[in-house]
Symmetry: C2
Subunit: 397 residues, 2 copies
DNA sequence: CCCCTTTAGTTCGTTCTCAGGACTAAGTAA
DNA sequence: TTACTTAGTCCTGAGAACGAACTAAAGGGG
């Protein structure tokens, strides 16, 4: 129930202009037509945005008739944010341009005994030299994160952790988010679509859901923790219960199953190589997983009804090997005809997706505010209230 | 990416005022404090709303100090909408005040052979005399509804149905929605909470999810069709597939199970009576269902992470008999500590919930527009774009 | 070469809405 | 009766968009 005043109008209209320019260069006249604003209003706002260094004038158009217009576009690097992923195996840190370009990236592994304190300290240390002028730092964790607290991260073995005290005097606003949710945001923010599910499948299994351009978080940040759907099997799960779906679909189980079929592979890379090389056991193991995933996607489709599913995590690399059996199973088990042809694709940002999503938390906010980065979000970690992208078409569309 | 102008400000501020007054009477000074608007602005807007007959002045406050204020409240019956449920067994039609009061209600059964055309014709015929001055008619169906089309309603045996041609020249805007989704809306619109799952369990099983005050619909309107999650059992389902969850949890199965235990009950009412009377078979059957439901709720909790679950449909009547075993199972299977204490309650509007939700589609829109009912939504059925209630606190809170 | 048409973009006067201060109204307390 | 406090109104000024008039820059036709 926000109130309105003149500032609010200006904010709305700046946002509309920046939002349209995210999709590509446009003239003032184009903007006037697209937004419905009077030409004079567009001129004034554009002038202001040029002054602030957010926009740049580019080439002139050459229309068949009439005076040519001047193309306007977002000035590269005018704004950027830092994003990071604290993953099971290592950390990714990057700087992301407001147009979606990765300006800088760095990855490192960590000693197996490293706890949250050490890992976060290293992250902040590496981020510090890049922090100048950044909008903020958004980092992700493979667990349930709500309002700056990590409730549970079974695959890290961490739980009930307040992240705020670990941030020290880092000079930027910081937000924490679940990895699958941030990945989903990265897709929707830069590549469109208002209804989307981002499936992260590696050791664990989780999904980030975007509905009508908004990230689904839930009351405790646990929406989309579908790896912990209980099935019939009763294998023990890292979360302490038995029968979670990720005990059946997690990639550890793929290797086990391969061995049970008589195959020999010391890790996933080897298994992939064997499957690609035509090994029947390897292919069989892949098909088994693909089949299970297809069936799982049919359930995901009735739960969230996304327009598109993006596959990330290690499974993105496996995807070509799984695709056939997965599609067959999905078609066989789909509830609606539309679900039979549900597009399923590997992630566009690849393994950078979570970190890109982390940075998007801030970029999204920046666009949401029409480029007015007044008082940022709360200083430290947590739930992010207003990240949404109207029609979800994104700049890639 | 909406643009803004002076009208937009006024709309926003009218909305803020009406939104606050939904929770109860307030003085102009209260409104000024709550909205952050200047006293003068509040005065002007209130004057306007009084003129339009939306508000009424009431008693004076008696503060310990200073001049007493005049309480303002929404004028009863100033606006209302029609809502209806086309259910498996019958039809419910009602008129709902913008404050949530049921002004008028009517129910009827239908001949078993009645098709969509006959049932809708009867509905419109009954609604016509009440239509004058109503904001619109929102009706629900137990199936997947998207943009005025019914894709699939297994328990009605209908599918791929364009509803628009069946509306004839009915003189109001009409919207169609899934019953569980509408029921969820009824709860959130009148009784608060921004994250909520409304579970409809009768013959079928479905859930309406509200996340951050917004109804989750999905790309095809199929979000929340959790009755068609595939499990391990392979019983045939009305949707044509095998193994859907509603074949295990649907109330038909409860009776079957009771009979398998040696019990005798010709229908649900009899079974309930026996369970209440202490019959061990009946209680056993109930416990079995309660246990399965509790486990199911644990899955629902990780899928959507609601702050509260409301139980509707026939199961609402059964709820006292199920509650114990349900809670035990939920506590045993919960993923997060928070889920162990997830509040589960029967529906406040009881069996009227879907129809109330149908009417809420229009009432919600009315408040969203700040009481300016300019051009309504599209003439006929369908997806409802902007229904949202900021903080979800509702008037009951 | 000039003029007409078309489209881009600017300038300026008007209108709408809110903010904020001055003012009036209506109560309590001393 | 006077001081104080809070409610509500009135009026002026500022910010923002609208829309009409205007200038700018192209192509085409006579």
């Amino acid at each position: 129930m926000r109130k309105g005043d003149a500032q609010e109008i200006r904010r709305l209209n700046r946002r509309a202009i920046l939002g349209h320019l995210r999709r590509g260069p446009l003239t003032r006249a184009d903007l006037s037509r697209l937004t419905g604003l009077a030409k004079s209003a567009v001129s004034r706002l554009v002038e202001e945005l040029l002054q602030e260094g957010l926009l740049e004038e580019g080439a002139a158009t050459s229309p068949p008739l009439g005076r040519p217009g001047t193309l306007l576009h977002l000035r590269p690097r005018a704004r950027f944010a830092l994003g990071a992923e604290l993953g099971v195996e290592g950390t990714v840190l990057l700087a992301l341009d407001w147009r979606g370009e990765v300006l800088w990236a760095r990855e490192w592994r960590h000693p197996p005994e490293a706890g949250p304190k050490e890992r976060l300290a290293r992250l902040l240390e590496e981020a510090l030299p890049q922090a100048k002028n950044a909008l903020g730092l958004g980092f992700t964790l493979p667990g349930v994160v709500v309002e700056g607290r990590l409730l549970l991260a079974p695959n890290l073995g961490w739980q009930e952790l307040d992240l705020n005290p670990l941030l020290g005097d880092f000079p930027l606003p910081v937000l924490a988010e679940n990895d699958a949710k941030a990945s989903a945001l990265s897709e929707v923010f830069f590549h469109g679509e208002a209804n989307l599910a981002y499936l992260v499948l590696s050791t664990g299994l989780g999904v980030g859901v975007v509905a009508e351009g908004r990230l689904l978080r839930g009351a405790n940040g646990a929406a989309g923790e579908v790896g912990h759907w209980l099935g019939e099997e009763a294998k023990p799960c890292a979360c302490g219960r038995r029968g979670c779906l990720e005990t059946a679909l997690g990639l550890g189980t793929l290797l086990e199953h391969h061995r049970a079929l008589g195959g020999k592979a010391k890790d996933l890379e080897e298994l992939m190589a064997q499957a690609a090389g035509g090994s029947p056991e390897a292919q069989k193991a892949m098909d088994h997983l693909g089949e299970a995933l297809g069936r799982f996607l049919a359930n995901l489709a009735v739960a969230y009804d996304p327009a598109r599913v993006v596959v990330g995590g290690k499974a993105a690399e496996l995807f070509p090997l799984l695709e056939g059996s997965l599609r067959r199973a999905l078609e066989a088990h789909a509830f609606l005809p539309a679900h039979r042809v549900l597009p399923v694709q590997p992630s566009a940002y690849g393994h950078l997706a979570p970190a890109v999503g982390g940075a998007s938390l801030f970029l999204a906010r920046f666009f949401e505010l029409g480029g007015l980065w007044a008082e940022g979000p709360r200083r430290n970690g947590g739930r992010y209230e207003e990240v949404a992208f109207g029609d979800g078409r994104g700049i890639g569309a």
